[in-house]
Amino acid sequence: MVEPLALKDHTWESRIFFERIVVGFGILVVLTLFLVARFFYLQIVQYDIYATLSDKNRIQVQPLPPIRGLIYDRNGELLAENSPSFNLALTPERVEDMDETLATLRRVLQLSDEEIQAFGKRLKRRQRPFESVPLRFKLTQEEIARFSVDRHAMPGVEVEARLVRHYPKGELMVHAVGSVRRINERDARRLDPVAYSGTDHIGKIGIERFYESDLLGSVGYQQVEIDARGRVMKILESDLPSPGKDLVLHVDSSLQQAASDALGDRRGTIVAIEPETGGILAMVSKPGYDPNLFVTGIDFATYASLRDSPDVPLFNRALQGQYEPGSTIKPIIGLAGLVTGMTTADYTVDDPGWFKLPNNDRLYRDWNWTVTGLGGHGQVNLEKAIYRSCNVYFYSLAVKMGIDRIDDYLALFGFGVNTALDLPEARSGLLPTRQWKEDSRGLPWYPGDTVNIGIGQGDMLVTPLQLATAVTVVANRGKWVAPRMLKSGSDLVERSNVTRMDSIELIPDHVWDLVIGAMEKVVHRGNQVYGENGTAWAYIGQDIPYRMAGKSGTAQVVGIAQGEEYNEEELNERQRKHAWFVAFAPVEKPEIALAVLVENGGGGSSVAAPVAREIIDHHLLKNTAAKGRVVALAGQ
């Protein structure tokens, strides 16, 4: 048999081919219709969704941050301004090799690990592609130059300019004006994201904090068309921001400088108030720090050294420091004694140098007490008790008055409460009462506690601002003016935790005359026999061209045991007493009232009084000179 030849069957082939190609073409038409359906779905059914997405892509609403209000002193000198600062920012999409770029920048700009880490965190919080992320703030001119040399090798890295807060007076004004800080995550949670969009900083301390809402201004917007790289192609619509309010403060930069100079390198604080208005003329707390360090982010080592310094530079002693008032309280106790009839101008006390309560062996010493028993002031009336700062007189007066009456009168002068209108950090001090002792220690009030209060010791605490305010009230003969920083530019908003005080009207003029006269003698009574001069006369009163009323004081830092003589030299420098001096001048028409505290300074009259004199000289003599009444100090 011959095997059948497998011949090609062309007709079959053609028919099969026809069938296959028709079926294939059919499938292909169906698939094309499927594509049409897909486009119909995207372009017709879901048109609204994608049209919105497309607009959301290209139209961006950008916040236009307002320019923060400026802060001026009473003479129009700038205390806080906005100056351009240059940041280094990276756009990750344009950076070719992030690790390598960071390594290069690290070398060129000496970046720290912290900065790289912080950058990594900011990178993760980024909202949209092609948004730049700052790596380093506040480049110096030199850093910009060094970066420029290598920038061609680092695409996506740019220097950006921004306005940031700058304090031209630096450390001098830090505790008076406060400062802004970069908004951190905790702030961001509590802040209105709309009002702060585009704003990096917020007032954290002092005036910057208190008047934040005025200084901030209101944010503006612009609607822009951007490309995928975030570049603005055109502005579609805009609503300009309105800048924050400019504020004028009562503070006088030149007086602040004089006060700072007078204090020198010593730790301490000064608050000077204009008695007519309550405006704070100067507020110094030393040591301070440069607020500009904090504006753009401080490095950890510098921050740690400020935070951990035993001199606590970050602490505003004028508002937050709470000290014993010491003898500076005596004129007010004296006023109270006269008004309540517990003493009179002529009533005298015999001062042997010590005081004892009946049926108690404890010895309350005068400041000139000696073991030999030769100390004391002899027969003392109220006037002498003030200008000689006699403790025994006030021990005895305090015991006669009793703590309740003392508290009532001290409270009239603002002790134990916060009366500062626009100083958010101000504290209230402590005015000890029976109730307070019962509540805090569970102990009854002892007569010995009253003895200590008579000379401003024991549990009583005041801030330098409170003491300066009380002196202001004395200078005003009872007229209350609450201390304040703001002179003009906004409305003073009343804070809920501030106590409003009423002027003191129950003290008659002759009582004011007596006490203020005694304070005048503290400074001006001189050329007397030993033990008869005003305590401060030898230090400041001999050549003074105006009338000043003052009172010295010392605040104990450590307690002194019974029967032990006070030996300053044996005490560690940090355990020495703080030196106080309060004063106002001119007596006839006070223009300035102040409180000076030199920490661990020792004697109030010898250490703090000259500081007060220098400040008041600056304030009064500079002013009189300006008025054309030249007072020659030379030769006096």
């Binding site: 062309h10 082939e13 594509l35 995207l42 048109y47 607009d55």
Partner: protein, 379 residues
């Protein structure tokens, strides 16, 4: 003549009666040339918008189109018998070029697809394979009894598998799948039983999950991105989200020519190459897209007619496969841009900016015309 005898005559297809056409003398098919020109012109217009109305890219694209047309005309002049005789050698040459990639290949973005002829050009051997694989299979089946026997199917699958594997390993999964498809079209047109076709599809579907473990990471990523572009909107999902946004925001009639915000503000990536249909969708809307699809269907329909008029097995299988493969490009590209297929680098034929693919496409149509215009005497 008796019917029995007629049946044995080669070249007696179902559609044999036709008049000599106008283009026969120059070995061109006039309707197909016109459609190619129409699509190319439409494509140039879209490209002109996509490149931001610059003329330089349009010029270079026009030169490529002209070069393609030139190649098409030259190829159409040569008789298909010549291609058929040379087919095994061409196939071996193309395999050699693919193999050379593993020795001299230039690596771009992690895959070796290119051969560099120093000073002249870079080219992708896989492009040549797009035409060579259908050619060798058509050669393989042209004198065999059809439908193919099992062993012939087996050997033809081996012929398909060799270049597909070589290209897949470059790696270039998209191209290898399309080339595989062009080979399988030959088998389908050769008359492999539907039972076999459907069981192959069935096995494919069932084993698809297993394929997951063979895929490389970036390929898995693309599939995951297709399923949920929002999982990485700024990274892998960006392209597809932006292209869907461009298309969807075009609506019925588009934002207007040159007015597409997605493409002109650079939100749409690859807007001049693989994603150019999104520019069309955004600027001319559904109307513009459907117009292009109709042009494509007409071109493919013309290819189908030419295939049906081919007189021998070789011509039929080759023309049919080239025509269907062209559709695969269109479908894969548009499907990928509109978010129904994973992103694979397939350009939109005759529209996307780019060199070698245009040349290959025109060469394919040249072969179609060569087959069509070199027929033996009709009865």
């Amino acid at each position: 003549m008796s019917q029995d005898f007629v049946r044995q005559l080669p070249g007696s297809g179902l559609v044999t009666q036709r008049k000599a056409a106008l283009g026969d003398a120059v070995h061109l098919d006039i309707p197909m040339v016109l459609l190619l020109l129409a699509i190319s012109a439409y494509g140039l217009l879209i490209l002109y918008s996509a490149v931001g109305q610059q003329t330089a890219p349009i010029l270079s694209q026009s030169i490529k189109i002209l070069a393609g047309l030139g190649a098409m005309i030259v190829i159409a002049q040569i008789s298909p018998i010549f291609y058929m005789r040379l087919a095994p050698w061409i196939f071996l040459g193309a395999l050699l070029l693919l193999a050379l990639i593993y020795v001299f290949g230039v690596e771009i973005k992690g895959s070796r697809r290119w051969l560099r002829i120093p000073g002249v050009m870079n080219f992708q051997p896989s492009e040549i394979m797009k035409l060579v694989l259908p050619l060798i299979l058509a050669w393989y089946f042209h004198d065999r009894h059809l439908p193919p026997k099992a062993r012939h199917v087996f050997w033809s699958l081996v012929i398909i598998a060799i270049p597909v594997m070589m290209i897949a390993m470059q790696p270039d999964l998209g191209t290898s799948l399309i080339i595989g498809a062009s080979g399988l079209f030959v088998l389908l047109l050769a008359g492999v039983s539907w039972r076999l076709v459907f069981s192959a599809i069935g096995i494919g579907v069932i084993s698809a999950p297993a394929l997951w473990f063979v895929l490389r990471d970036y390929q898995r990523q693309r599939i995951l991105t297709l399923l949920d572009p929002e999982r990485d909107p700024l990274g892998a999902g960006w392209n597809i989200i932006q292209s869907k946004t461009a298309i969807g925001s075009g609506g019925l009639s588009g934002k207007g020519l040159f007015e597409g915000t997605q493409s002109h503000l650079d939100f749409l990536p690859e807007s001049q190459t693989d994603f150019i249909i999104a520019v069309l969708g955004e600027e001319l809307g559904l109307v513009g897209v459907v117009t292009l699809l109709i042009l494509y269907l007409l071109l493919i329909g013309r290819g189908v007619i030419l295939s049906l008029q081919a007189q021998d097995t070789f011509g039929r299988l080759l023309s049919g496969s080239i025509t269907f493969t062209f559709f695969v490009y269109v479908f894969v590209n548009i499907g990928m841009v509109s978010g129904i297929l994973p992103v694979v680098g397939v350009p939109l034929p005759l529209v996307s900016h780019g060199g070698t693919s245009i040349l290959t496409l025109f060469a394919g149509f040249g072969i179609l015309m060569s087959i069509h215009t070199h027929r033996r005497i009709t009865l």
